[in-house]
Amino acid sequence: MQTTFSLGTIDWAIILIYFIFVLGIGWALRRYMKDSKAFLEAGRSLPAWVTGLAFISANLGALEVIGMAASGAKYGQMTFHFYFVGAIPAMIFLAIFMMPFYYGSKARSVPEYLKLRFDEKTRGFNAFAFAIMTVFSSGISMYALALLAQVIMPLHIDWNILGLHIGEFDFYLMVSAVIVLVYMVLGGLTSAIYNEVLQFFLIVIGFAPLVFIGLKEIGGWEGLRANLPENMMHTWKLTGSSGANPMGVEWFGVAMGLGFVLSFGYWTTNFLVVQRAMAAGSMSAARKTPLIGALPKMLLPFLVVVPGMIALALSNMGDLEIPLKAGSAVKDFDKVIPVLLMRYMPVGVLGVGLTALMASFMSGMAGNVSAFNTVFTYDIYQSYIRPDQSDHHYLKVGRWTTVVGVLISIMTAYVAKSFNNVMDFLQLIFAFVNAPLFAAFLLGMFWKRTTGHAAFWGLIGGTIAAAVHHGISLPVGGTAGVKGGYFALVHTYPSEMAQNFWTAIYAFSTALILTFVITVLTKKIKTDDELKGLVYSLTPKIRDTNIQWYQKPEFLAAIVGAIAIVLSIIFW
């Protein structure tokens, strides 16, 4: 089956118009980038709806879009867990309980909060780990974009420049890198956030027709139900035992592993998303950011998971051939979005769909680069390399960090091209690093006694626990190596998903216990006065007396929570 598109002039024009606007936004923002705060923190001046949409868009890179559609085809409705229990409780918790410390402490990054709350070594550990993670993620995103683009938009490029062979892969890699570089150097974090908002609307408008026509063809939700196995049409109902559902996890693994550890770890401590909330213009806007993001978040599964389910249903009906992975008989579910775009979209809307996909790849890069900039400039350069320089100096460093970040990403993309397995492995590792960090935050924010030594060794111990657990377990049918089991084989999980959830649970529990025990054994160094604004019990409660009850974050949180519960019951 052919997987290339016949793009019309209009499709190319639409893609081109998008690129012009992306660069134009950077150009229009350049004159506002007067200090490092404007460049690296978006001046802390954005309205809540902008930061809210950017908050979820930063997690809606193309790797997620394609991955979630693939999960939809593999696990069916179980994938909805990532949008309901796997996101909403954490977003509410961040908004109500954690944002007051993040925003109120005036910390400019997550590592800086760790420095204020704990100590230098905890900050250093997190800053370096995070910086490495973001450039690698950005590179992986770049690699995936070039890989997909050369398949679906072949340009037949075969250039020879100064003895270097430039093919389509290289061409798309360079084009995307240059565009991201230009708009990030010009407009900094604001550019990244604005483009994430643009990308969000493009995804909605680009994918909605796909879902609409797909559901029409298959006969609506009932048609989906008729053509998919029963166990793919539930979220909670079949989680009584791990064998009954396609994901291979029981309810405890879902609720504790995904709903608590992974989700809270990601949404509340990953600076990539938290940075968006910190760029808001006021405390109230910062607290509303995750809540405003949560509303469209709950609609996203219908745009990105349902296409995967439609593709599988069509394939079960013998009406669609899903391409196989190169050199194997396994269906390549990562291709379902391109395949459906090709099936349903005529010239015109096809351009919009592809633009949405391109936009999400580029914002996947830009989001990571913008978080890398801030952490490198403030937490590594200003802290360890050259402190006490003028703000103008740090603005310049921030700009150069963008250039360096993009260059490292390009190198990473080529590494990913040569060593596919290494990248799969790294992505797996990145999924666990936030679990121990969440333990440090939970104890640090709500127990004033928690010490810096305890947090630091808890982080190290939790990270080691994740590596050890992963190294002694395997999913069913997996071979030792990238999938785990590189130390020994002690336990076999029914699925990769189950293995991931339990790795996170072990990492978090180890970090929590270690931090608790070491805190008891060590002396509290920071005084209550120093911890004011950083710890729950020592911070005056926010009293929004000047706004109506229905304008308060708590009211919005209640609505978000209620909708999440209703959706969970409907799709039980």
Binding site: Y194, I213, P346, V347, V352
Partner: protein, 71 residues
């Protein structure tokens, strides 16, 4: 930040919406083209939605608010 995000969003979606609407009108009734979208003139539908969204963004942006204040 000095630039209201609604302006570029509004401009881009109005422009793309206009292109798709015109394309949809020109190709209206072209059954061969819209066979793959099950007979729906999806360009026209998407185009009108994008155009309306783009105009809504522009009308609620600072671009329009400032003009109103000056009057």
């Amino acid at each position: 930040m000095g630039l209201d995000i609604k302006i570029p969003i509004g401009l881009m979606f109005s422009l793309l919406g206009l292109i798709l609407t015109i394309l949809g009108l020109v190709t209206n009734g072209d059954t061969a083209l819209y066979e793959q979208s099950l007979g729906y003139n999806i360009n026209l539908i998407s185009g009108v939605v994008m155009l309306l969204f783009g105009l809504f963004m522009l009308l609620t942006s600072t671009l329009f608010r400032k003009k109103k204040e000056e009057e």
